[in-house]
Symmetry: C2
Subunit: 144 residues, 2 copies
DNA sequence: ATACACCTTTGACTTAACTCCAAGGTCAAT
DNA sequence: ATTGACCTTGGAGTTAAGTCAAAGGTGTAT
């Protein structure tokens, strides 16, 4: 049996996070002491570690809640259910990835076109690109 | 001169967003009508378009505020200042990118190991991976 | 005159995942 | 008996970038 501080320390998280997980029905301690202290079992700790691993893989807490609901009733859930969650998440990750790659390309294009020197920014190609309605970076008239 | 609704429509944003930008000192209308209506000039519109373009490139509003402060005083700012903002942003984008790529790899590894069939999830490799303390996916004992 | 679209202001709400605070109870050691 | 560490609860604050609502003023067309 772990008290809240012990479990938090063992798993290297804030004890308030445990209270937060409880409030959000991700992890409820198996029992309470007479005086009302939360008491977590080894099994509770296993669930917490499941949560932390899923978080590391990129799942949000509500997705993790879904995963947990399958976990506790594996027999009545199919591989398909689990894989769907993973694949849906994979898709959203890949969408974000695509957006970031567009950001990266735009920023790289801007950065590459600017000399980065101590010259006045009056002819800075970066500012010019952000002022103009095209996205084009014009290299030619950057400082005469 | 544009009234708030006209500018919002012209730039395809919510008029509340314009008020929000004003509150956050990104764009203040050049004048007001006698009755207090906000009046935006063409120049104001240019600034708004600058903001929207910068957003599209991935800058946050506070970063855009910095860019704008350089924009309005180009003569006293150097290319180096502008490029630093872009490169700093590029770095944070690339950091996020790296994290997402890790998520993607983990999820793909999980997904690939699971059959996704209608079999009970009792031996689902995804759940097993999330239960175990290693990150390894064990292909071998997925449904006997 | 009255409908109607448009404008004003203040201020609350949203999402995610915590994080912190205040006021007070519990427990072991001194 | 009194520290001091630990626990309890409820509730507020954080960040980003808006979005919405309420209550009321303005401007124009019929
Ligand atoms: Zn330059
Ligand atoms: Zn430059
Ligand atoms: Zn399977
Ligand atoms: Zn499976």
């Amino acid at each position: 049996m772990y008290r809240i501080g012990e479990l938090a320390k063992a798993c290297n998280i804030n004890h308030d996070t445990l209270r937060f997980y409880e409030k959000n029905a991700l992890l409820t301690p198996s029992s309470r002491s007479e005086s009302g202290y939360r008491l977590y079992t080894e099994k509770d700790k296993d669930i917490l570690e499941f949560i932390l691993r899923a978080k590391n893989v990129g799942f949000t807490l509500s997705e993790i809640k879904e995963l947990l609901s399958i976990e506790v009733d594996k027999a009545n859930n199919a591989c398909a259910d689990v894989k769907t969650l993973v694949d849906t998440k994979l898709q959203t990750v890949e969408n974000k990835l695509a957006e970031l790659i567009r950001f990266q390309a735009s920023l790289k294009r801007l950065s590459d076109a600017c000399c980065g020197g101590e010259e006045s920014a009056e002819h800075c190609t970066i500012l010019e690109a952000l002022e103009s309605d095209t996205n084009a970076v014009r290299h030619e008239h950057h400082h005469d």
